[in-house]
């Protein structure tokens, strides 16, 4: 059995609840206002995105922390009383939502959501819940490690994580290795624009370590769909000679039969390009040229 292409490995069975009404409650950071907000809706049981689209008037928001500082438990209580008529929400809501906020703050969450927050004859029940932890917060909370769910990532993504690389699998055939997240996204976009399709997002990061390039290449090559590899480096902190060393190392250690297009510019680029040409590889200076070349190699290879 699969759900949305994911194999079902476990099934959670819970007792049937006598649900009289369903609320939605979540704590999150509002990126626009940079505030920690509590979102409550009486239209629970469906995704908040759907509520926002279909019944935005049923979404109520309370600032737990913001420009005015910290809100108190008392203020939360008053707000719930003035916003909702249901007695059970006024009575039991404050304690539940205050605890949600405490969990959110204590564990560096990016989302604590109860949906539905069910009204039953026995009181309010969290019938389902979702917690998302902030990746940047996890190192400060080793107790969260056991919640890591490897199924969220592809095997390549997991290996990249272990190697300290930022990697996302895509469905195309041009393997991309880029330094910097913005440039890596732009490289994907421009590849698509020129008729190719990127196989992945890969940011080798700002450090200039030849081993990182070797690891990155190893992960790229695992993808059997690849028809070409595109390396796009704009050296800042990253030094082009280190990248060249990594590429040469990868060619020695790994069995690479695919065409590689290299764009190398920035810090120590002359040295890097010289090293590559001594090793029989060429590097171009211009990003658009490099991308066209990679797209030609990938699509041309398929047609011939």
């Amino acid at each position: 059995m699969t759900v949305k292409d994911f194999p079902v490995k476990q099934i959670l069975v819970t007792e049937l609840l006598g649900i009289q009404a369903e609320y939605y409650a979540s704590i999150t950071v509002e990126r626009d206002s940079k505030e920690i907000v509590l979102i409550v809706s009486e239209a629970g049981g469906m995704d908040i995105e759907d509520i926002a689209e279909k019944m935005p008037q049923l979404i109520r928001t309370f600032t737990m922390y913001g420009a005015g500082g910290e809100s108190s438990a008392d203020e939360l209580s008053k707000w719930l009383s003035s916003s909702f008529r249901d007695k059970i929400i006024r009575d039991q809501g404050p304690a539940i939502m205050w605890n949600m906020h405490k969990l959110f703050r204590d564990k560096d969450c990016s989302l604590v959501e109860i949906n539905p927050l069910a009204v039953t004859a026995d009181g309010l029940v969290a019938a389902d819940a979702k917690i998302v932890f902030d990746d940047n917060g996890v190192p400060g909370h080793p107790e969260l490690d056991r919640f890591q769910n490897p199924e969220e990532f592809t095997a390549d993504e997991l290996e990249a994580r272990r190697a300290g690389l930022s990697f996302v699998s895509l469905t195309g055939e041009i393997g991309c290795m880029v330094n910097g997240a913005g440039l890596a996204m732009a490289t994907m976009d421009c590849t698509k624009l020129q008729g190719g399709s990127p196989a992945n997002f890969l940011d080798v990061g700002g450090s200039s370590n030849p081993d990182k390039v070797l690891n990155a290449m190893r992960i790229l090559l695992k993808n059997e769909q690849l028809k070409a590899i595109l390396i796009n480096i704009f050296g800042g902190i990253t030094r082009c000679d280190d990248v060249a060393e990594g590429i040469i190392l990868a060619r020695e250690k790994l069995d690479i039969t695919l065409p590689i297009v290299i764009r190398l510019i920035g810090t120590n680029d002359r040295k890097g390009r010289k090293m590559l040409s001594d090793a029989g590889l060429t590097a171009v200076e211009n990003m658009t040229d490099a991308i066209s070349k990679a797209v030609n190699l990938a699509t041309g290879g398929a047609r011939r």
């Binding site: 995105e49 940047n136 930022s166 996302v168 330094n179 910097g180 996204m185 732009a186 976009d189």
Partner: protein
């Protein structure tokens, strides 16, 4: 004039004795920035190259008259470092550090607003006013002084754009990397406002990416309040939803933060949005 920093800006580096801090403090000095010292708790009295090291920011400010601090300390200690700078009379803080938890930034953001201290970053390449002052980690030599202001959420993509501008003899007034995190100290709008007022700046390049709605906010500000020419590039059009694309803030989540809505908003505000970074110089000329 440039914005935020110029040849008179006196700069200290927090975390100056670390690997990145010492390297980049030297690079900034060589570029001509008035780097006047550094701070590493417990290492006061030592020197980092030619620069004096202090135990606290307060002492450094007292002895050197620094107004600006660049922060290289690890994520775990970075918010304390920012807070210390803000409490010690520093008015402009540039935080390079990546990996600060979002909630720490939320708290800090509002604290700094109340204190009226400006923070650029975190997780950013910094600021450069070419040939005057560099407070950041960008390669200085690709920049040339001129009339184009650059604001970006990215690092290397900004270098790419700046390189293209310089190659076409279009110098820059100031280039600012605002950072790739979901919560950053200073957004596009405030910087657009500064560039609009700045006499040196004649055109503005805005480099955005997926995630959040800062570009949309910038678009509505441009529509009402920016009369200078603005050219934009948005990266991440091909990014899959619900996946973080390297930057903590670069994620299309719950159908929000996609590139198309940003591009549309900017175009409706009269901004020329280009498909490729190398089209930016021509778009400015038109």
């Amino acid at each position: 004039m440039s914005i935020l920093i110029d040849e008179h800006t006196r700069v200290i580096a927090q975390g100056i004795t670390g690997r990145d801090g010492s390297f980049h403090a030297r690079q900034m000095l060589e570029y001509g920035t008035q780097v006047v010292g550094g701070v590493t708790p417990g290492k006061g009295g030592q020197t980092a190259g030619t620069l004096p090291v202090f135990d606290t920011v307060a002492e450094a400010v007292n002895k050197t008259g620094a107004q600006c601090s660049i922060i290289f300390v690890p994520a775990k200690f970075a918010t304390d470092a920012i807070r210390e700078a803000a409490e010690s009379g520093i008015s402009l803080i540039v935080c390079i550090t990546e990996g600060i938890p979002v909630l720490s930034m939320v708290e800090l953001y509002h604290e700094l607003r109340r204190k009226k201290v400006r923070l650029i970053g975190p997780n950013c390449p910094g600021i450069i006013s070419p040939d005057k002052c560099k407070v950041g980690i960008m390669p200085g030599h690709i920049h040339k002084p001129g009339v184009v202001g650059v604001i970006s959420r990215s690092g290397t993509l900004t270098y790419e754009v700046v390189y293209g501008l310089t190659e076409k003899k279009m110098g820059q007034s100031t280039c600012i990397g605002i950072g790739g995190d979901p919560i950053v100290g200073t957004g596009y709008v405030e910087l657009l406002e500064m560039f609009e007022k700045d006499e040196q700046t004649e055109a503005i390049v805005l480099i955005g990416e997926i995630g959040g709605a800062e570009e949309e906010k910038a678009a509505s500000f441009i529509k009402t309040s920016v009369h200078k020419k603005v050219v934009a590039f948005i990266s991440g059009r091909t990014a899959p939803p619900e996946k973080r694309m390297g930057h903590a803030g670069a994620i299309v989540s719950g159908g929000k933060g996609g590139a198309e809505s940003k591009i549309r908003a900017l175009q409706q505000a009269g901004v020329i949005v280009v498909d490729r970074p190398d089209q930016i110089p021509d778009a400015i000329k038109v």
